[in-house]
């Protein structure tokens, strides 16, 4: 039987070719399908890249920081004592980040801030446990409630809340790394986060000054504008 077939095939080389080419076409089709799929996902990837890259606009040398974009900066100078300058960054959601302004007298001392202690007033602020969406157990503070005490080689200074509200957290990383206050008091060296009630904030705001006003007031002291 085989022989006959062979003879048939050899007798008809065109048929052989036809058979061969059909086979080839079939495997090509399978490959083609895989290719198609690959091509399609490649196509989608290219589309994605185009979308990603085309959206890159101007690239300024120094873009605004997350704080500048998301917070409004306020300051208070000489709070309860001269030279006790602090910042209050207020987020659109009402939360206030409290910290030492660059002109705080603690920074003038030789060697800068060496220690921070949250155990002031009636309780240690660093052990408070605020929980839940409703912020249970948060300490209620007045604007002159003490937050912590920062010490330098020469002296120690009380840092106060400046804002009436619920104390949500203090930056306990400062305990082990007080040098953060020297290197980046306006960012990683923040001291606390307070949540004021809307009515309390409206009243509080009156005793605060804006960034522009602060710059003007302290222009003689402020030597590093990029800090702001």
């Amino acid at each position: 039987m085989e022989e006959t077939q062979n003879i048939d095939v050899t007798k008809n080389p065109e048929a052989e070719d036809a058979i061969e080419s059909t086979k080839q076409k079939q495997s090509e089709e399978v490959e083609h399908h895989c290719d198609e799929q690959q091509k399609q996902s490649q196509c989608e990837e290219d589309e994605l890249r185009k979308l990603l890259l085309s959206d890159i606009g101007e690239l300024p040398l120094s873009p605004p920081s997350a704080i500048q974009v998301n917070f409004v900066s306020y300051f208070i100078t000489g709070f309860t004592k001269p030279g006790h300058d602090q910042y209050i960054y207020r987020h659109a959601n009402g939360l206030c980040v409290i910290g030492l302004a660059p002109t705080h007298i603690a920074f003038k001392d030789q060697g800068g801030i060496t220690n921070i202690d949250f155990n002031v007033g009636k309780s240690d602020r660093s052990v408070l446990k605020v929980s839940g969406k409703r912020k249970k157990n948060a300490m209620r503070s007045e604007s002159n409630t003490a937050l912590c005490k920062v010490s330098t080689a020469n002296d120690s200074y009380i840092v106060r809340c400046c804002v009436k509200g619920s104390l949500l957290e203090v930056n306990e990383r400062l305990i082990k790394q007080p040098q953060l206050l020297n290197s980046s008091a306006d960012r990683e060296g923040y001291i606390a986060i307070i949540m004021p009630r809307p009515a309390d904030w409206t009243k509080n705001k009156e005793s605060l000054i804006t960034l522009e006003e602060y710059k003007e007031k302290k222009q003689d002291i402020l030597l590093e504008p990029c800090l702001l």
Binding site: L48, L51, L52, D55, I56, L59, L61, P63, P64, S65, A66, I67, N70, H91, A92, N93, G94, L95, V97, V130, S131, G132, K133, K135, L168, E169, N171, R173, L180, R187, E188, Y190, I193, M195
Partner: protein, 506 residues
């Protein structure tokens, strides 16, 4: 009584569909029921003002099922011997128990009195059918719901109490009584199915509900209305063992109930994936102080296109996760569900495809949709699929305060399954619990930008629930490690895109 001796039908439901009144052959059960009526009890109740069907319901031993239901009022009157009285007074008095419900007497919502001529349920069914058709739903099956005023069951209780007092220990007193609600359903269900021209087998469950709500006309007109105080007093009295019937329990009823017919389709669902091309479009409608945030929302663009096609009352948008208003959703898109309340019709796949194309080809190109289709009850499983294992891929445009070096690319790429700790970001701390969450960055890749050493594209794949923006800028040190801490400098995120939301299906 007729002489036929037809065998009692075992299956009562199939027997008397659409049987007309008068001239029909009554099965044996019905004859027996008629024979078993206690004439003095019947006369008693008639004089009190109880309607024929309620009498049949309360006094027969047999259950008031569809056999008895198809007995016409006039036949009933014949049995009960109340024919003469009826002929004398043209005004039919309203039953003190069922308040006209089983007599097919009621007021429509325009306060017009309606009295059904054909008294076998089919007239009532026709009236209901008209109202159902007006509401415009497409359906092939229905579930009938009936809501009655609570006074009806109180009326019934009072009458039964009275009967027990007078005819204690009669056989017919002991049997379980079919409630007015069930009796109405038996009377109306089959005629309604016929009237609505529904083929197919009856099913117990249907997603389309027809609700008949009977409500009291007014307190005075319907007698036997207890105040809450009286009801409480009666209930405690009954608990204490004493039975208390109010002074004048069987006052005449002057007005029937008001009947309203409402149809409701259970929610239907559509699924798909959406893309968000704009950095000024929120996922869901976002209004603060009467002002809309952003120029549009994904929810309104998609839901607002599907709702009219369904002729529904309202829609709900559900998505598998979310992104900020200023973050684009690219890549394979994010899975979503649209739930439509009380749809009147279900759009075809072709209509859905047209809706998809319309959104994708819109002038503004804010949002894109793919794979829009109808989905059944498996929709929630689909959304929840792989929730815990969900991985997300992003591309972030990052700026750093020092020039990027070759080493940085290598060190970042080598970080696999990096564990980070994120304190609740300040921007959501006002509405979320203050917690520290551990998350995993599965992999990262830096892509340099031509001609710029301070900016680069960061591609990363992270665990679900990771805050990307905070991972880049560090959130004042509350997310560690961060891009800044890893590269030893300041880092800011300029913009973010979601490039993939991996689910169980591709």
């Amino acid at each position: 009584m007729s002489d036929e001796t037809k065998p009692a039908s075992g299956d009562s439901s199939g027997l008397l569909n659409g049987l007309l009144t008068g001239g029909a052959e009554k099965p044996q059960r019905v004859n027996e029921a008629a024979r078993s009526l206690d004439p003095s009890a019947v006369k008693d109740l008639l004089s009190l003002g109880v309607c024929e069907r309620c009498i049949l319901r309360l006094i027969t031993v047999a259950t008031f099922d569809s056999d008895l239901a198809t007995v016409s009022s006039s036949t009933l009157r014949g049995w009960l011997g109340s024919g003469e009285e009826e002929a004398a007074s043209p005004e039919m008095s309203i039953c003190i128990v069922c308040l006209g419900v089983l007599q097919f007497v009621f007021s429509d919502d325009k306060q017009t009195l309606v009295k059904m001529k054909s008294d076998c349920g089919s007239g009532h069914a026709a009236w209901i059918t008209d109202l159902v058709k007006q509401q415009g739903h497409e359906f092939d099956s229905f579930c009938l719901e009936v809501s009655l005023p609570s006074t009806i069951s109180e009326n019934e209780r009072a009458v039964l109490l009275y009967l027990k007092g007078k005819y204690s220990n009669e056989a017919w007193l002991q049997s379980e009584k079919v409630s007015v609600k069930d009796a109405l359903k038996v009377l109306v269900l089959d005629p309604l199915r016929a009237s609505l021209s529904l083929q197919g087998a009856k099913s117990d469950s249907s997603s389309f509900h027809i609700r008949l709500t009977y409500s009291k006309a007014s307190d005075d007109a319907q007698g036997l209305s207890e105040t809450t105080h009286e009801r409480k007093k009666r209930k405690t009295d009954e608990e204490n063992g004493s039975s208390c019937i109010s002074e004048n329990p069987f006052e005449k009823v002057y007005e029937p109930c008001i009947l309203s017919v409402h149809c409701n389709q259970m929610p239907i669902f559509f699924s798909g994936r959406y893309f968000k091309y704009s950095r000024n479009v929120s996922q869901s409608r976002w209004i603060i102080d009467d002002e809309r945030m952003g120029e549009a929302s994904v929810e309104e663009i998609i839901g607002g296109s599907i709702l009219p096609a369904c002729l529904g009352d309202s829609y709900k948008f559900h998505a598998a996760g979310r992104e900020d208003i200023d973050v684009r959703m690219l890549g394979s898109g994010r899975p979503f569900l649209i739930e439509v309340q009380n749809s009147r019709k279900c759009p075809s796949q072709q209509s859905l495809t047209e809706i998809e194309e319309k959104i994708n080809n819109s002038e503004k190109k804010l949002v894109g949709v793919k794979d829009l289709k109808f989905i059944g009850s498996e929709c929630w499983a689909m959304m929840r699929e792989g929730e815990a294992e969900k991985q997300k891929q992003y591309a972030a445009l990052v700026w750093i305060s020092r020039p990027l070096e070759e080493e940085d690319c290598n060190s970042i790429s080598s970080m696999i399954e990096l564990k980070i700790l994120q304190k609740t970001p300040i921007r959501v701390l006002h509405r979320r619990s203050p917690l520290e969450r551990e998350r995993t960055i599965h992999w990262m890749k830096l892509e340099k930008i031509k001609g710029n050493t301070h900016y680069f594209l960061l591609h990363l794949c992270t665990q679900a629930g990771t805050y990307i923006k905070e991972f880049v800028h560090g959130d004042l040190g509350r997310t560690t490690p961060s891009m800044g801490s890893i590269l030893g400098c300041r880092a800011e995120i300029i913009q973010l895109d979601v490039t993939d939301v991996k689910m169980g299906d591709s």
